[in-house]
Every structure is written in structure tokens, then in C-alpha cells.
Symmetry: C2
Subunit: 144 residues, 2 copies
């Protein structure tokens, strides 16, 4: 059970914002909740729809402002898939994704060698590696 639960993530993000001089509004909390819970790597639009169920007045601009903030704080990861941004708030640590060109769903991919690869690359190139984006494109079993 080393993986953090959804609730841990929500709490972590809330605490992180409170630690800064950031305010906790109902809309913002709702966005955090979606990001902490969703396994779908939702787009801004998708987050908006879910949040709207509870807070119908919420604007898309607010979603964007919130994800931009969380991105800067390193609490969520942005990935671009098929021309749009998707957000991963469940696991802010670097990891890789598996994207199905059929259903367009994104799931996390376990690649144990990422760390080793990054280290080797840094050694060979002299770059200071600060992040990686390792996404695989494929067709999931159901779509085949």
C-alpha cells in the first residue's frame, strides 16, 4: 500500500495551497478534488463539466487559472495528447503514460527503468534533467 490514496492527494494539494498565500474557494476545492480523484487525465473542459455539477457558475477560465497554478507548484502534471492538454493530479511524480489512439483514454504506464535512463542520459550529455515526458501511443486490448 505505498501508493497514496485519493484523499491523501486532495489533502496534500489543499495543504500546499494553504501553505502559500493562496485561498481556498469552493470552486478551487472542487477542481482539486477532480484532479486528485480522476484516473482519466481530464482536460480542462472535462474538469469544468464535473465542477459545474456542484458549482454551475464556475467558468472555464477559473479551471485554467487553477491548473496553471498547480502546474507551477508541481502538484499536477500536464500532458498533451492529440492536441489538447490533459492533467494528472493523482501522481505528481514523473511517470509515463499509455495513450490509446482508439478510445483516446490515457492510463499510467509503469516503467521501472525511467530513473536509470534519466541518470545515464544526464551523465552522457551534461544536461541537468529536470523532467521527462514518456508517453506511449498504442491500441488498448479492447480497441484492437
Amino acid at each position: 500500500m505505498s501508493e497514496p490514496t485519493q484523499n491523501d492527494r486532495l489533502t496534500a494539494m489543499v495543504d500546499r495551497l494553504k501553505a502559500g498565500e493562496y485561498r481556498m474557494t469552493p470552486q478551487r476545492r472542487a477542481v482539486l478534488k477532480v484532479l486528485a480523484e480522476s484516473r482519466r487525465h481530464p482536460t480542462a473542459e472535462e474538469i469544468h463539466e464535473v465542477v459545474r455539477a456542484d458549482f454551475p457558475m464556475t467558468s472555464l477560465a477559473t479551471i485554467y487559472k487553477t491548473v496553471t497554478l498547480l502546474k507551477e507548484l508541481g502538484e499536477i502534471v500536464e500532458l498533451r495528447v492529440a492536441g489538447r492538454c490533459r492533467y494528472d493530479g493523482r501522481n505528481p511524480a514523473p511517470h509515463s503514460h499509455l495513450f490509446c489512439v482508439g478510445c483516446e483514454r490515457v492510463v499510467d504506464a509503469e516503467v521501472k527503468t525511467v530513473h536509470a535512463v534519466t541518470e545515464g542520459l544526464a551523465r552522457r550529455t551534461g544536461y541537468r534533467i529536470i523532467g521527462q515526458r514518456i508517453d506511449f501511443l498504442g491500441v488498448c486490448p479492447e480497441c484492437q
Copy 2:
């Protein structure tokens, strides 16, 4: 010397278009040339500027139409960096990139284990893997 030369790439792309029912216009050839030769992973805008040196009438729309075509044919790879698309025509085989957050340049990264990682992932998940995007973010030696 197993790596293809720029000229090989240009010829390969030209041949590929001719093999289809595609026409070879001066503008199109100029775009192919930039893609075959540039190590900069140029944006559409950057390709446009270079092509314009020889063919000042060339429109940005033509650049986009050509890269879209080449992308569909699998002759070039599109990568999104910092919100814009860049194109890699020198090496259409899957490989990874190193992006410097300082100078925004992109270079190819040699990662020998990619194939092994992909294979393992396919075996474990049941996905048919048809592509990968392995990009590293870092600070190059000069920018550090």
C-alpha cells in the same frame, strides 16, 4: 556510418511523395529540404522563414499542409514543446528528445533501452504499441 545523410532523407521523402499521387512543387521541395536538413526541430513558422528566403510568396498555410501530409505518411515526427509543434524530419524512426528549458533548443537523445521498454510494456498491458514520445526536459550545459 549507419545514419542516413541529409541527402538520403530528402531523396527518400521526395520519392515517397512521387510514389503516391502527390506533386512536387518548388515550395514543397523547399519544405522537404528544410525538414531533411534541419537539426533544430523547427516549428512551422521557422520552416516558413527559411522557405521564404528562396520562395517569398510561400504561405504559412502551405507549410502546415505539407507537414500534415508528411506526418500522415510517417515521414516526419511532430513533437510539442512549450505549447508549439516542432517537426523532426531527419530521423522518422522513434527516438527521444532532450529539450532545454533555457534556450528552448531540442536535440535528439540516444536511449538504447527504448525498444526493450516498449516490448515489456506491450507484454504486460496487452496494448499494441504503435509509437512513443520520450522527451526529457532539462538545462543544457551552456545554460546551466
